[in-house]
Amino acid sequence: MTRDTIRVWYLVHRWTSLICTLFLLMLCATGLPLIFHDEIDLLSGEPDRVATAGAPSSSDAAGLKPLDTMLAKVLANEPGQVPVFMAFDNETPLMTITTAPRPDSRAADMTVHVLNRATGEMTGRESEEGAMHFLLQLHTDMFLGLPGMLFLGLMGFLFFLSLVSGAVLYAPFMRKLKFGTLRVSRSERLRQMDYHNLLGIVALAWMSVVGLTGVINAAATPLRQMWQMGELAEMTRTYAGQPPLPPSRYGSIDKAMAAVRQERPGNSPQFIGFPGGAFSSKHHYAIFLQGTTKLTEHVLTPALVDAERGVLTDIRQMPWYMVGLSYSQPLHFGDYGGLPLKILWAALDLFTLHVLWTGLLLWQGKRRAGTDAHVREVETGGMPVPAE
């Protein structure tokens, strides 16, 4: 690699990193506790989630209360509200019903009710406050809504470019060094450089996957809108000209669910999007079915059921970009392989924080020495460069 080539890659690495580092530090710091979201919720103030025996709410096991009964219970407590979502659990009989003033209300105006489908009790409301919720908002969009989300997506993409350029620079830097070299006693700068290189290269694959899936997740809203205006509109084409179905004419959800189960006996629902919301047409219950194996569990298949009559309109595989989005969620959250996977996720998150921090120190430390000095450092594996 010639000095000019190294120089170009060095500049790409410096600038892509500098622009995204502050945001990446925030994302890694907020992401760390979010990895253990479920565990922290269990320990702090959400005891309802602990001891709940019974069949999972996503099943149709005997003994579970009808969905219509559950919804009626919530609506009786929330006069003037309409249902927007119903979501199920694969382990416990707990489920949630989300209500809002209007079918197309903003997420901020929605209320999430937690219910027990085995006992038929309302167990409470999902809290929109608290530290975890704050961290999640900060991590997702910095309280700026869609623009914030897209901005963080862009930062994630710059982070990926800095990973690629960093990996390229690893080659000339390590040319004369053995893998894992840590020169800790010669100078603070050499120590930082070696740790930056080692932690960066061993965590490269993980950082790339978590970074890129974060970028895809940041694009969730436009992807979903694309699906809603494209595939979903296509599935419900025959309803196109009709006025929206008012909530007073919504029919039985159990009947709709039964129609879907008859068509796809093995699949359990993950959630239902009500008419007029972000996940359905203006006339349908959109019942999102999970796959039957662990690999396909995350990929949802929408079944569109006429909300008034309870008759199945269409059921179709998600397009490729929605399948990609489905896999990007677990791969970003690290919540799909038990507690050991979460602990490894946390360790690699700490590695990333360290790489970001040492990167910042390395840039800051010899800023006045100029680009040439830095390029020569990369070229020689950090050998001290005589002053010019």
Partner: protein, 64 residues
Amino acid sequence: MTGRRENRVRSAGAVFAAPLVIGVLSLFGLVAALAGEGPADWLSWAALALPVLAVAWAMQRRRS
């Protein structure tokens, strides 16, 4: 102590051999837990522990 060996120039293949093994196994680990349970989870943990173990090893053996 190994001054002469350290100065020998290594090829790109040699430089990236260990990182490539760790990277490919990490990707395998990320997918394994997604695809299965039980043994697949164990394989996933083992594969994703590699980056952490590599650093621990380097701190023991390659510190100077």
